[in-house]
């Protein structure tokens, strides 16, 4: 595709949008039109986009369900909780080891249940007569077999309908065991409109039942927790490596390579760093309200972004030694990053990317593409909300519809004993003055170029149209989209599970990503799609054997 100097390639987003909507029934087209926005900076901020709304029945959507967001995403990566799916077998089966969130359970005696799938495997008689008895027995059996610290129960769709009171069962069992925390999640798949509701339900319950249970803190001078980092492909390992090197102690990662005790003592951190704003910003808010821990938005995707995030943390702690150490680390790590860029950039410069994934990665990964000289011409989230697109200033204006109303908002108050404001309000004000505002996120749209297109909840039909009409050099989405896009001769990088690669976070991750994208966009295979006789079908002259 031809590229204009200093800008996006010559494309006409308005006609692409029109083409994408053309085939839809009028009602569908009207709704989808509001979820597609051409980026034109306005004096009053970002253009408005419709997000976090229902997917139209019949549309081949990228989205999953609340259970997937709750059990799969948030609770999945914690190794020492026994996660029991209460429902028929499928839900528990599909969420078994399929997310590539790595864990390090190599310490002697460490527990690791992530390789297991636990289910009550409900049968028709349980659906008819109720499944509470079976659930109770299943929890008992899990306790007898493993004696874990905690057992979590996840409701799937039919459970809500037949009215099993999973919370009562959990409370009863917790009391009976005495030494095992049992709690439940009403994360039936029909709640909300996407995985996002499941993140919320999961986080609320972790906050309610686990956070704050253990006041013992790990030693460390600069203590943070990392929120919204799931250790896919080992991202969390790389971030921890960098943090350790800087002398920053990461007490708890919500939730990657995580353990029950990390969550239980997370309130002893002095700063919360939010990676994925969508899945967890409300937990950061609650930790602040209840325990006085402020939060900042960070991003460890991209070498530049990593350096920036480390500097933000140093700025917050305001300690000369830490500041110096952070600069040293950045100086040590960057040469390898620059060397990799020098190598790949001649092959990636000015190539174009599209990113449709998740609730933060479609934003974060643009950093890496920028570093490689690539342009993001279109992007959007699968399950994010307006604030993730337009910035947190829109939060007060968000409308609560029927689908968000059924997701509980916890009422949190300062903990009478344990609330401790980590920084005086004046100090927080000063930090904001000097360029480090707390709880601030500007969203994806302001970071994208004018003339780019932002599309919420992109579906298979629209993806196909985009690829066909615009032919980006790389398309980023998930496993369900991977092969339909690749059949058209355009490489697809999975940004949920990373295909087989990673880590892509931090400095080493950035280098990995540069090489991975170089491999994909420059792979020889895209030149093999046509056989010689398909490229030149005419027999120009009768071939004569010599």
């Amino acid at each position: 595709m031809a590229t204009k100097e200093n800008g996006l390639p010559g494309w006409d987003p308005a006609s692409v949008k029109e083409e994408m909507l053309r085939q839809y029934p009028p009602k569908v087209a009207r709704k989808r039109a509001k979820q597609m926005v051409i980026n034109q900076p306005r004096p009053d901020g970002s253009p408005e986009i419709m997000a976090n709304v229902r997917t139209i029945p019949g549309i081949i959507t990228m989205r999953g369900c609340t259970y997937a967001g709750c059990k799969g995403v948030i609770m999945g990566p914690t190794r020492d909780i026994v996660n029991i799916t209460h429902g028929p077998i499928g839900c528990g089966f599909y969420s078994w080891l399929t997310r590539r969130n790595q864990t390090d359970a190599s310490a002697p005696g460490a527990e690791n249940y992530m390789t297991y799938s636990f289910s009550t495997d409900m049968q028709d008689k349980d659906i008819i007569f109720g499944g509470e008895k079976k659930l109770e027995q299943a929890i008992s059996e899990a306790y007898d077999l493993f004696h874990p610290k905690a057992i979590a129960v996840f409701a799937t769709c039919p459970v809500g309908l037949i009215g099993d009171d999973i919370h009562a069962v959990a409370a009863r069992m917790k009391k009976q065991f005495g030494d095992c925390n049992v709690f439940a999640f009403s994360c039936e798949g029909y709640k909300g409109v996407s995985q996002s509701a499941g993140h919320h339900i999961a986080n609320n319950q972790v906050f309610r039942h686990v956070v704050g249970n253990n006041d013992e803190s790990k030693p460390g001078k600069f203590k943070i927790s990392l929120l919204g980092e799931y250790n896919i492909g080992g991202d969390g390992f790389e971030i921890d490596r960098v943090l350790n090197k800087c002398g920053i102690t990461n007490l708890a990662t919500f939730s990657g390579n995580s353990t029950y005790d990390q969550f239980a003592s997370a309130h002893t951190s002095d700063l919360n760093c939010v990676m994925c704003h969508r899945s967890i910003n409300y937990v950061a808010d609650m930790l602040e309200t209840k325990f006085g821990v402020p939060w900042i938005k960070v991003n460890f995707i991209g070498a530049g972004a990593t350096a920036k995030s480390l500097r933000k943390i140093a700025q917050y702690f305001d300690d000369p030694e830490l500041t110096a150490r952070v600069e040293e680390v950045i100086a040590e790590e960057m040469p390898a990053v620059r060397a990799a860029l020098t190598e790949v950039k001649p092959r990636t410069q000015d190539k174009t990317a599209m990113l449709f994934v998740g609730g933060s990665r479609a934003h974060h990964y643009q950093e890496l593409f920028k570093e490689m000289g690539m342009k993001t011409i279109s992007a959007g989230y699968e399950f994010a909300h307006r604030d993730d697109y337009e910035g947190r200033q829109v939060i007060p204006n968000l409308t609560v519809d029927a689908d968000s109303r059924n997701i509980e908002e916890l009422e949190v108050e300062p903990d009478p004993q344990r609330y401790r404001a980590r920084k005086a309000p004046e100090k927080i004000g000063e930090l904001a003055q000097s360029g480090l505002p707390m709880k601030d996120y500007e969203g994806l749209i302001p970071d994208m170029e004018p003339g780019s297109m932002i599309i919420d909840d992109l579906n298979q039909y629209e993806a196909e149209k985009l690829v066909e009409l615009v032919k980006p050099d790389i398309f980023c989405a998930g496993i369900k989209e991977k092969f339909s896009v690749q059949k058209m001769g355009i490489p697809l990088k999975q940004l949920h599970s990373y295909d087989s690669g990673g880590p892509y976070a931090g400095f080493k991750g950035a280098v990995n990503f540069y090489h991975e994208i170089d491999r994909l966009v420059n792979s020889k295979v895209w030149g093999y799609l046509k056989a010689p006789w398909q490229e030149n079908p005419e027999l120009s002259a009768t071939y004569v054997w010599e």
Partner: protein, 459 residues
Amino acid sequence: MLLRHTPKEIGERGALTINPAKTCQPIGAMYAALGIHGCLPHSHGSQGCCAYHRSTLTRHYKEPISAATSSFTEGSSVFGGQANLLQAIETIFTVYDPEVIAVHTTCLSETIGDDLPQIIDKADKAGKIPPGRRVIYANTPSYVGSHVTGFSNMVKGMAATARKSGQKNGKVNVIPGWVEPADMEEIKRLAALLGVEIILFPDTSGVLNGPLDGQFQMYPPGGVTMDELKSTGDSTGTLALGEWCSAEAARLLDTSCKVPCRVLEMPYGLKATDRFVDALRTIAGVSVGDEINHERGQLVDMISDMHQYFYHKQVAMAGDPDQLIALCEFLVSIDMWPRHVVTGTPGRAFEERIRQITAGLPYQVNVKAGAGADLFLFHQWIKNDPVDLLLGNTYLKYIARDEDIPLLRFGFPILDRVGHQYFPSVGYKGGLRLLEKILGALLDRKDRDDPEQSFELVM
């Protein structure tokens, strides 16, 4: 250790399933529906099930899997999913333009009790189904049976579209069961070699093993057509491969269209393939030509050439009933010894048949189907009585690594290797491939473990 919490001692478990050896009905229905030409499978429920089923099938086939969903919200779960399905049917025909939509239910819509035929009828009356297009369906509640049941239910839904015109078409219906696209191709090849015209349904060959050529075809060229399905009512007879996967559909054709049927075991290995070829030639009244005899002879040849390496090697296998029965017979026929056999799919007949096949062995095999038959128990059995080879889906690799036992990947899902899309395991040729893979696994292990002084060049 990856499965460090699995104890050797086997205790009573009545309610907790750990590491299932089955999954849920709709994914089977979705797979079967993909074997219809021009078909878009549709999951009537919340969107999570559909996302899970598509993802798993995609990972198994490394191919695009298109399927739509009714995207239930809380409202639909209270008031029923009729409005969602009506809207879905309209959206699908306008946007995706399939020839047929194959609707299956999920636990949610089943628990609600949505009446599919009534809703589809309503859609039809409201003009939401364009002329010449079809909506077929299957009820697939996952709190009954397993993914195999769902497959069978959708195949039955396909058979329900058969019509008897009164004029025989001279063909034989073959219902292959849940086998791979390459297996379906192989069954068609064998029938063609025999000179028998068949209607194979479902038929995922040409759908889920497509080429990379610069085009995305939402409806690839493969699959049984709706016309062919209709004409199965005029066939000479039906061969159903696998009691669990295929028998119901065959029996339906028998009662609804008076097409006589025979239920055979799936043609994995020598004897089951012999029975399949024999049945096909008998129904069609043809004789078996030299090509097939030649292929059969090659399989017998490999069994004899390498018999010493198979002899009395013990195998633990997990998977689906029809496949396990046939494979078990194949293993016993080459003097390998099945030791532990598990399927999460219920069925008493399974345990009986496995016992019958293994009756001549010097021990009682451990066999279990349905409730309580999971990979946790399977692993415990292996800890108590170790084996030489594991056979089953990708989830077994955790056991394989912990117990240091070679694994032959077979069944569903295979998430970490390729080949099942392209190379058949059924028929004589498929038998050769299975033996090649078994030998590869056993001999690689031998080469790794043999002491230097007895390390062999020639094997």
